[in-house]
Symmetry: C2
Subunit: 335 residues, 2 copies
DNA sequence: TTGAAAGCGCTAACAT
DNA sequence: ATGTTAGCGCTTTCAA
């Protein structure tokens, strides 16, 4: 099956390889109808499938885009991937997805691998730590688009949520519900991960804007195995307990909800809760959780279209303006 | 950056292409240390990245495995993908994931695309409808492993959950909780999707085994937009209501939970609930939902190892025995 | 220890 | 309307 080549088809159809190539690429213009028919049936008889690898080598393009995500476990990531894939498919491009696991070395090795595989462009949820490599790509005029995280200087088109606004929406909603003692729940901020940093920053600003104090103890940013302990210490200070929680992403939400359940804290009776990123489970749970969502569809779609445009016309500007997308609040029953 | 070829490195290092090739492939055996050094620095200076496409063409292998999933929205799918990817990475293989969306034509086109891209093997969550194509692959001795769904005859290694056992676990658990009026919630069974069929079959057997009648009305198998309507009609028959629900996969679980919430049905007060496939949200919700889980890790790991073995030694047997994996019950608070 | 040369399967410019 | 030919960048004998 794999050994059938264009040559075999050519011989069987009694034409030259070039004519078969024309046929494969739908250029029937100057081809005699009879020839076309013969090639057609030769292909069918032999079960011929063209070899894209050879084609890519010759054409120096692969019609595929590499996608390096920081962490595939986030629902935001998988949803974005789906949109990117759909958009690419419509343009006859394929995507090759790699998971960097928030690890700069892994990311670097994937960048090299994908370049080696001759992808035509790269969509990256960048980790910090490979700036040199990005600059390299920039210098080579290689098409890249960043999403979700920002690199300074902004040398490639960058798509980001308005993260401060997202926190503002959450805080305002909680305040409207009469809760002023808000504890933020995040994940580790080592590594300077943009959305986490910006959401925390937005959280503080929103508090201040409303004349509320910022209590650093109520900004819980820890890794999975640490977070429970920290939440406990916040909660056990009975004289000074928060009456609301804001989880800054889906993972943090899971940790928070797990913690609250384990400690018999009732929502919204004891505390109100708002989390980032939606999930059908959050809507179906009791109480249904109020969330702030990202416009995944637009963000994914625009990312794909920008990279596609760059591939067609690889003219990188000196510096880019970060493109910001607006979050949305979905009020349910947890406030 | 992309235009640097082995030839450039060779010139810069003052050696021939062949020697550079040896270096790239870690064959330093008969290479003078000085030569090695020169090549090393030439590569660094030029930022040379080898072209895998050319390598693949020459070697007729790509060190990548195509993975065609039936539906990427199922958590089972994404978890399996992760395990497969990890296992492949350890063996210096990459995976190229495609989502067939339960559509046989899409699946067929992905099979062709991946073969065209010269993948060394295929892992498929098969839809029904492309049997001819599978036979083709079989005839060509092309390495393929099926997972999650069964094709008859079993011409490729096939990895499946013991689906009937899964239903038995769910039913037994519900019975133990004193609930005998159990309604199964699934998705459309058109297309003969193995796990759905087998879980329904196992459900019936488990009922019968316990001397309970099988009520076909209480086997709800509908598409997303229909399922709510059907559940409503089951529930509105007030004289004859189920007192327990069993959702046969993660999607069905979401529909069920959404329905129950919308209709103010309390769990486990009004009805007990058991669902297939776990999620952190299910564990953190109130009440925590009792689930039956699949051994994702083993299933993914074995799938990857089998395909890797087949690639190394492509000797397909005439027919295979389906490999069955055991589900597990995790009891929580919903029964 | 290193180099020369052929060829993987395809495309595209050029001939005819 | 169809064929000839020269590579794309690499690996791999074989020779030196």
């Amino acid at each position: 099956m794999e050994k059938v080549t264009m040559k075999d088809v050519a011989i069987k159809a009694g034409v030259s390889k070039s004519t078969v190539s024309q046929y494969i690429n739908n250029r029937y213009e100057y081809m005699a109808p009879a020839t076309k028919k013969r090639i057609e049936s030769a292909i069918k008889d032999l079960h011929y499938i063209p070899n894209y690898v050879a084609k890519s080598l010759k054409q120096k393009k692969s019609a595929t885009i590499g996608v390096i995500v920081a962490n595939i476990l986030h629902s935001f990531t998988t949803e974005i991937i789906r949109v990117i894939e759909d958009t690419c498919k419509q343009n006859d491009f394929h995507i090759f997805v790699c998971n960097a696991d928030d690890n700069p070395e892994k990311e670097q090795s994937y960048i090299n691998m994908l370049i080696a595989k001759q992808v035509d462009g790269l969509i990256i949820f960048p980790t910090t730590g490979n700036l040199e490599s990005y600059k390299q790509l920039r210098k080579a005029q290689f098409p890249v688009v960043f999403i979700d995280r920002k690199m300074e200087p902004v040398i490639f088109p960058t798509i980001l949520l308005d993260n401060e606004k997202a926190s503002e929406l959450a805080v305002d909603c909680l305040l409207k519900g009469g809760k002023t003692r808000i504890c933020l729940v995040g994940q580790s901020i080592e590594g300077g991960i943009t959305p986490r940093l910006e959401r925390i920053e937005g959280f503080k600003k929103a508090l201040l804007k409303n004349g509320l104090p910022v209590n650093e103890n109520w900004i819980v940013t820890a890794d999975s195995h640490e977070i429970n302990k920290q939440l406990l210490s916040v909660w056990q200070d009975e004289d000074n307990r928060p009456n609301a929680f804001y989880a800054i992403n889906g993972m943090a939400a899971i940790h928070l909800l797990t913690f609250l359940k384990a400690n018999n804290v009732r929502i919204p009776g004891d505390v109100s809760v708002v989390t980032m990123d939606d999930s059908p489970f959050l809507a179906a749970s009791t109480p249904a959780i109020t969330v702030v969502t990202q416009p995944n569809y637009e963000m994914g779609k625009d990312t794909a279209n920008i990279i596609l445009g760059l591939i067609e016309n690889p003219e990188l500007k000196e510096e880019y303006q970060v493109l910001r997308y607006q979050p949305k609040l979905i009020e349910r029953e947890s406030v």
